[in-house]
Chain length 420, copies 2
């Protein structure tokens, strides 16, 4: 086992050297070939997915997870067209980011280059296999794809189709390598393969991400956990606030850019909550609240569970919310910087000074004034793709895509200069 | 102990919130005040350094290390003027890196922001205290400075002077915090303070850096280890090659951008080595070599120690070199990518195609054509400062300074947009 994953990483490293010298045209042609191969192999991929679905159902896997796991012709077409979209994006490699002549006369250029070997560790979404392979091909990286055991047949089927198509299109053998075992130790090996794995990206639940952070010695981009807030400041349009809160909480509660808490200025709490609490309750949202929220709930006939300290720190990822009154923007900022996860945060206000203070002082990847946190997404942000949403500050923050899978190097051309 | 370092980090975190809202003018004024305070406190800092020097001499510390540790009025003036140079650099924060209106009408900006809390872990050079504090002030970061036990009195004296000056100039209390204990566990605590330490930078020997990489759960920028090469390709100017090899090996052998190995095309090995080996030997360089180098040494009357596999991987950091003949540029690239540390690599050739292949395929932060590896330095590269030389590909590569101590955030301003 240990041998197998290490060998795979060594093969990927060798492939990464070849990938670094492919042209953008070659990589884009490979993306088109990969898209077509997915379409041509729809039946086989669906059959592999059926095996995963059957095993998952037999295990009593809950419905939302089954939905993430499920592939059909439409979803496979979605993966294929996403690969074609990648091919159409501007070339990320060889971009001259800086250029100057040093005092010594040496000519310096800083140019974008691939990372090398990117390892992707993910869970039940088989489409991540195609997204990750595609973005790595676009950026000239070799990739190691470690899908979750629930999706293993689907992931291997997709990866094998993509690898064959990429190699047929002229990319190096082993440029896309799926991990074939479901043994958990394979992840731990990837986490510690310094010199072979240049970047590891975990995508999945908080447990997986924490495990990677705690055990990685290779560089990691932390993704995903989102304990996000909407804060409604006293001078706010109540209808706008209601609309944003409902969208941010209920439009898709299981994703990381949905909110988990509502903060509201104490002076407008009765008025705002008289509108918001019945709407949340009507949408099936379980509400935890402080005393102010409990009072507003009693007035509106909406049941409120007394909130505990733990609620402020909880990412429910479900139709559930914590509601708290605060005394102004400073308390809201302090609460968010204490309990938030540096993901997406929103202020609703008609006061520009308060808004700008919130934008400047809240420590998060994406800070909103009068718009829903649900916009935090690579596609919405115009990145053309997304491989994850980073909650760290090193290298990539917020939704990230091509740029984050590139590094740079300095090229220095002289005519015999030495240092004096 | 544990309490103390954690408390320090909590204080630094609180200070970082205040630092993030200071203006560039305030931070530059603080840098000038810090410079003046160093000058005004020269006697006290030298006295503290005397205590470190005395203890170091009593321990039998070798002369090169004593030289790194030593401070006098001239070196303190050097630290002061470096702080003033930082003040003169362009403002790194609040730079609008991207700006666009999303399909929804939400206006997006990506702006540069501080990292937050930067922890610097270093060894015997007390001047790193001032360099790190200065660059963190410039970039709006709070910093925790963990100097080595050998330099502890010097580091604390410098840090206390700088902190007092920064606070007098209006920066937040605790924006510069030295670790006051020499207990090694303080480093390990810093390495695992997720949520409090946003970035940790180790500067020092390979042992320190490896320890940080192995144990860190906070984001780290790996610095420093340099197993660098000069490769002399067959069509090369022998005088230029000799000049570059001598500069790269002997001008300052104890630094990371000095070379450790010389590779030479087999067909010109006799001619090149007939010139290079006596010059190296004459400069006091101990030479390890393969069979070709041994033959050339015998012909030139220069003693050559037979090289072992280990020599190719060794960073001597001393007047010592390994010499090997290769069969052309592909073998040279393969050797460097196998044994190098992604730091600085050089080809000497008059063949542009070979040079460009080397520049493209060697996986290192800084790749040279006909110039000495010794130029890899923040000052030489025109960065205006340097906090280290990164050998990783994430976030910062090669010499890094202000830009690497900044992150970015997305600011999104709407008028009630929600996601459909």
């Amino acid at each position: 086992m240990e041998q197998t994953v290490r060998q795979a990483a060594q093969l990927a490293k060798a492939a990464s050297m070849g990938m670094a010298t492919t042209s953008g045209e070659q990589r884009n042609a490979a993306l088109h070939a990969m898209a077509q191969a997915l379409r041509d192999n729809t039946a086989g991929i669906v059959a592999a997915n059926d095996a995963d679905m059957e095993a998952a159902r037999a295990k009593g896997t809950p419905a939302p997870l089954l939905d993430r796991l499920m592939l059909d012709a439409g979803r496979i077409e979605g993966m294929a067209s996403a690969l074609e979209d990648l091919a159409a994006l501007p070339e990320p490699l060889g971009v001259v980011q800086q250029e100057r002549t040093l005092d010594s006369g040496v000519r310096l250029q800083r140019v974008s280059v691939p990372m090398g070997v990117v390892a992707m560790v993910y869970e039940a979404r088989p489409n991540v296999t195609a997204d990750a392979a595609g973005i790595c091909v676009k950026t000239g990286n070799a990739c190691i794809l470690r899908g979750g055991s629930l999706a293993i047949h689907s992931c291997l089927a997709i990866a094998d189709v993509l690898h064959a198509a990429a190699v047929s299109a002229g990319l190096p053998e082993n440029c896309i390598i799926p991990v074939r075992t479901t043994d958990r130790s394979a992840t731990d090996e990837l986490l510690t393969m310094r010199g072979l794995v240049d970047l590891l990206i975990p995508r999945g639940g908080a447990g997986l991400i924490q495990h990677c952070i705690d055990n990685a010695t290779v560089p990691v981009i932390e993704t995903g956990v989102g304990n996000c807030h909407v804060y409604v400041h006293a001078p706010a349009d109540i209808d706008m606030a209601l609309n944003i809160v409902m969208n941010a909480k209920t439009q898709r509660p299981g994703v990381c850019n949905a909110i988990e808490s509502l903060l509201v200025d104490r002076e407008i709490a009765p008025e705002l909550l008289a509108a918001v609490l019945p709407a949340l309750h009507g949408a099936g949202v379980v509400i935890h609240g402080d005393e102010a929220a409990q009072a507003a709930g009693a007035a509106a006939g909406v049941p409120i569970i007394p909130a505990t300290e733990e609620d402020w720190a909880t990412e429910y990822l479900d139709l559930e919310i914590a509601v708290k009154a605060v005394d102004g923007v400073d308390e809201a900022i302090a609460h968010i910087n204490r309990y938030g996860t540096n993901h997406s945060e929103c202020i609703v206000t008609s006061d520009e000074d308060a808004a700008e203070r919130f934008l400047a002082q809240v420590d998060a990847s994406s800070v909103y004034w009068n718009a829903s946190t649900r916009f935090t997404d690579g596609g919405e942000f115009g990145l053309g793709a997304e491989i994850g949403i980073s909650t760290q500050k090193l290298h990539a923050r917020g939704p990230f895509a091509l740029e984050a899978l590139c590094s740079y190097k300095y090229l220095l051309r002289g005519d015999g200069q030495v240092r004096g």
